[in-house]
Symmetry: C2
Subunit: 296 residues, 2 copies
Amino acid sequence: MLIDHLSIIGVGLIGGSLARALRKAKLVNRVTGCNRNEDSLKKAIELDVIDDYSLNIHEAVSGADVVVIGTPLSTTEKLLPKIVDSLKAGAVLTDVGSAKGSVVDAAKRSMGDKFPYFVPGHPIAGTEQSGVEASFAELFINHRVILTPLPETDSKAHQLIIDMWQAVGADVINLDVKHHDDVLAATSHLPHMLAYALVDCLAGMQEREEIFKYAAGGFADFTRIASSSPEMWHDICFSNRDALLNSLDSFSQHINQIKNAIEKSDSQQLLTIFKRAKNARDKFSESRNKSAISNE
Amino acid sequence: MLIDHLSIIGVGLIGGSLARALRKAKLVNRVTGCNRNEDSLKKAIELDVIDDYSLNIHEAVSGADVVVIGTPLSTTEKLLPKIVDSLKAGAVLTDVGSAKGSVVDAAKRSMGDKFPYFVPGHPIAGTEQSGVEASFAELFINHRVILTPLPETDSKAHQLIIDMWQAVGADVINLDVKHHDDVLAATSHLPHMLAYALVDCLAGMQEREEIFKYAAGGFADFTRIASSSPEMWHDICFSNRDALLNSLDSFSQHINQIKNAIEKSDSQQLLTIFKRAKNARDKFSESRNKSAISNE
């Protein structure tokens, strides 16, 4: 048995899918859930995602060998100081937040000598759906999970979280905290901002009815991520504020280069940008196709 | 027989797919191709896409009942004045360009009393591939084709082009020229600029190797369109210059609202934007799911 008693704080898409996968693989004896909303916990029992639940977070984590916090980032940062005294000695704590610097700071400030048992994590998996109803055991198969252990992190705790994610089919990678946040700002947080801004821009146009009516397949792909949870993305923006603002500035420079080339009828410059981008995107496709691991 | 002799100028993905579909449905007697590059025409013969070809554009269009110009926009605008004298009386001419104002202007200037036989068209279909090798008969099934006939357009010519596209499975819609260009600037041309700018931005970053390595599925969807033909998009930018520049300005305002909200820690404003965008995107998905016609 990999984990005797697992506690999941925030039994939603990610937490619920992890619980399902570990139970399916018979790698956990008991899963306790904790949410603010009792209905979702009853639903989680009904769907056989968890064994039991508590609305009291102290009760929910006490006795657990591994605690996974699956809440949005601002909640995670608030919960860390609250639960630290209720964790049993040696219990391993991990999270699933899309930005790591702010969570690591919160943990460092509040966890004292339990800080080595916190293993910051970020499964790069999900759909635009949320909630335990959307969870499924196969969510992490062939998806990357990035862990950002610190020099202080206990090596056994780190290994246990690696084992846990590998057991549910994930490809685990370790990255430095700042590196993680810079890379994710560029590849995930920035594109989400562009999708939200694009849809908001089009929805405000006079021709919005026709715009959405005549939009073709590429538009659907391009804006799908604007259906993601506003609350979750609100938290990510503030948790990864500096890296995201840098990415936004860099993007603005690039879109302005295109705009200027069109305004100045600079054919050569426009073609150069488009060719350079196509070349980079084609290489990205190639390297993904060659790789045995797919994140699609 | 819908069309006795069809001439396709630019036998690529679009022109080739149209020829394949019409031949498959036995709605055309003879298809003549014309490209600058003889190898691609030999390939088109080999793939049974066309019956014969000519490298001489005058020869290629003379005698044709319908001429489809499938070249990039700037080429189409240059070809119109060249071929007009070689068209036989009553021959119907159409194009497949993603912007219509500039082509219509070019046709008006050069076609004289043959202008009523020009039916401007835009099939909203395609892949990131190009060339006759990528063409296939099913490309247009359940895809929209927008026609932008003018008051001068001959009604029989218009009907023939409607019939041609419907025969290959498309859903044909008629729109005003300017309306088409505004709507397409917003839903297609702007997103392509964002994808090119995003990929160019990331490819220029120091961490570019990790960026492309750790990018997840959403990024692949979001940037796929940056693999499209640089030459084609270069032409679209200049052909639909004003509408595209307006869209770019409007987008910049919206992305700056998000940036300002993050900078000023304005939670409420950020949540409002994200919720408004999610709401619009969810409605778009619903209306697409309800519709019998899919553009995916």
